[in-house]
Amino acid sequence: MFEWISYHRSGIAAVVILGLVITLLWSIYHGVKTARIREKEQVFGDPERTTGGWYWAVCGVATILLLWFYYSWGMARAYFPKAANELCQIAKVHESLSPIVAQLPIGSRYFKSTDLVVRNNEQLDDIEASFPVDAFSAQEEKQIRGIITQTRSLIAVYSNPDSIEAATVSSLSMIVNDINGLTDRIKSGSAGLTPTEAALAQSPWGVTPEEIPMLPMTPRGVMFDGIAQDVTKISKEFLTLRNMPDAANQLIKNTRADIKLVKDNLENTSAGDDVIDIRQSYMKSVERVFKRLDDGMIFPANTLDDVNTSVAVMIDEINAAKGGLGIIDALFMPGAGVVKTRTICIEQGSSRWLPKPTDVIATFSTLANPNIEEGGGFKGTRLLWFKWLPISDVVGFFVPDSLVDILPGSYGKHDDVGRFVPTYKDHMLAFAKGEVYMGSIPMLDGHIWDSLFRVLVAMSFGIMLGVPLGIYMGVSRFFKSFFDPMIELYRPVPPLAWAPLILTIFGIQDDGKIFLLFMVAFAIMVISARTGASGTQLSKIRASHSLGASNRQILRHVILPNALPEILTGVRIAIGVCWGTLVAAEMLAGTTGVGFIENVARTVSDYELIWVTILIMGLLGLMFDLMMRKLISILIPWRGKG
């Protein structure tokens, strides 16, 4: 079942997207219609105008989901499942062409040769202008200037169309012929071509981690794949071409000898080391330009014109053969489209970091699968499930062994024949250590539970300790003045600033994080309870005094319930802040938790997993807040009505 859904994810997405579009259009229609009716009844600025309007909420959700589908290329995959495979074949052609295109103005406005000529001439000018007169003798100067002039004439020889060798010319025209032949093949179309069985057996786009299947799955794809293979051969041939006429060879030989002559005598001077340094570095820069030119990579401009024309025609023909694919590429694949890297085709655009909604669900399903042997969970821990927890473990954790020590009696000793006879105290010790099996209870387990557990434990301690202290601070001058400086000093520090210190002291396991969260929750609870307590109306306190309540009764029956709205608001804020801090703390250290998953996903650039964790965190945070809102409306119905 799961396999089937996973395999047909693009088809399912197609139905979902269609549903979303219909929903979007319907909600806009309904919203506009309703707005027309309401417009007459309500004046602008009336807060009543914002009540209701669930159809706009539907509209908003549909919009965001559609945007998500669009920018993750989810629409392209849903409605044109074969487009990526075909575009991948075209990308192969472009990749094969790239060595040739790099030499031509198609890719970069100028011939590569033109660029080389301009750059080298400029550098030669600079070198000549900065000749260090003091460092060389007059004769040396003449030699060096001669070398520079020869290098210039080398560029001139390369650029001269008359001096190019016949063999090179014929090689170039063969390449042009081959390219034209390929162009004709593209023009004649893909009739008669069929994809191989191996290609058809590939998983569709996006089902495997490889994303886009490499082998051509359509006739047109087969054609482009074949073209790409031939272009690769032509490119190889093109790359071996050199423009090396005899005149150039002679010049290179002479210049090389001249350079050697000057270099050999660089150190034969009476001047000091610093002058020798200048002489050496100057010659090095002269030689560098020469060496860049001795490989025959500059061609006369007009010899490459034919190649340029034929490649341009071929690219035009590829684009023409693309047909509807080009429109799909431009409209539904925001970004640079499908690009081939060395071994695979990748989606180059927003979908690189924005996974498709269907893929996110698939990743989530894998993560939520409680069966770790099947590859569920993450790093050996489930996402959220239950486990059987032995009661003895709980007892062993909560009952301290030393409690048994203070019981009357003594522990057993070995007797005369070397046996150990346990006394009741030994049995009690085994119980306290958690060695007595008492059955198991089901207990939640997994990354989400670990995160929740940390927040809940920290919140409980924060409430249990923070609320009483806050209440006392609200009513007692001593408590207020004594504790205020401490809390106000540590509270403004961002919780994460404490994290490195606390994680070092308490270790990276639960206790460190719980303590960090406790610090956060405690400060918020103290402050909210204090605000609530000190906000009690004097007349209520006086009334309860007159009704005969003692101080303790007033604290319990008047000040505490009076502070309840503030306390609950504090709990709501504290849960939110704790949740945010926790995820960051889990990213710093630890081996479980939602933040841990995201941190690992970050290091391996698994964007789907990152989005899944973001969604989990958002939904859990939302759930906390909704629960608190519900709790507040149940516990303090009088709020805002007093």
Partner: protein, 265 residues
Amino acid sequence: MSDLVCNDLCMTFTAPGNGAVVEALKNINFTLKKGELLSVLGPSGCGKTTLLNMVAGFLNPSSGDLQLGGNTITGPGVERGMVFQQGALFEWLTVSKNVDFGLRMKNMPAADRKKLVDKWLDIVGLAGFGDTPTYQLSGGMQQRVALARCLVNDPDLILMDEPLGALDALTREKMQSLILELWKETGKTIIIITHSVEEALLLGQRLFVMAPRPGRIHKEYRLDFAAEGLKQSLRDIKQKDDFAKVREEILTMIWDMEEEIMGGV
């Protein structure tokens, strides 16, 4: 013999900042017999609320003393019940839980509490409202709850600090009748502080007009309107000539005091 006796009562405050001494009350002397109904009237700043807070035990006098039934008042106590302007109800409790608050603090058994609460809710006209949350009640009903909450403790003395100040005219009149009825039924000693001259006349068997700087009793009246109010409608009493005469006299008196304060500034 639970009379309220006030001997040479003085109260001074030190103003924050300049340290000036303000004489909120100076040499107040009076004796309120059990079952008397006293209303206190005066311009703002004449110390009437201070006087009430001292009787309630929320403030201790600078000199002189206050005795109720021979015992000097040193702090708040159940024998002196208080009704505040805004009711000061506990909005997290229902009506009956508000009313039996004092009884619960005394750990009275639940059955006895229920009997008393039902009785008093019936008397103040809130029978059947026991389980209503107080925040759902109107201002007048809230004040009835406050009255019941105070009376259920069976105090010797009931102190009311502008109890009807926040109510609309119609509700106010009904509440005035209710207070008179309660006074008659229970025979409690009651002190009412008010801003309204008419209310002071209607609800005052005795009436103190207080004057500011230093706070003192300017003039005392003994009136029959409260007794008459038990027999006929309060609106008829207000129409009477002698009522109007006293009302005008007191209004002029307070007006002059206000003038004096404004002139003094």
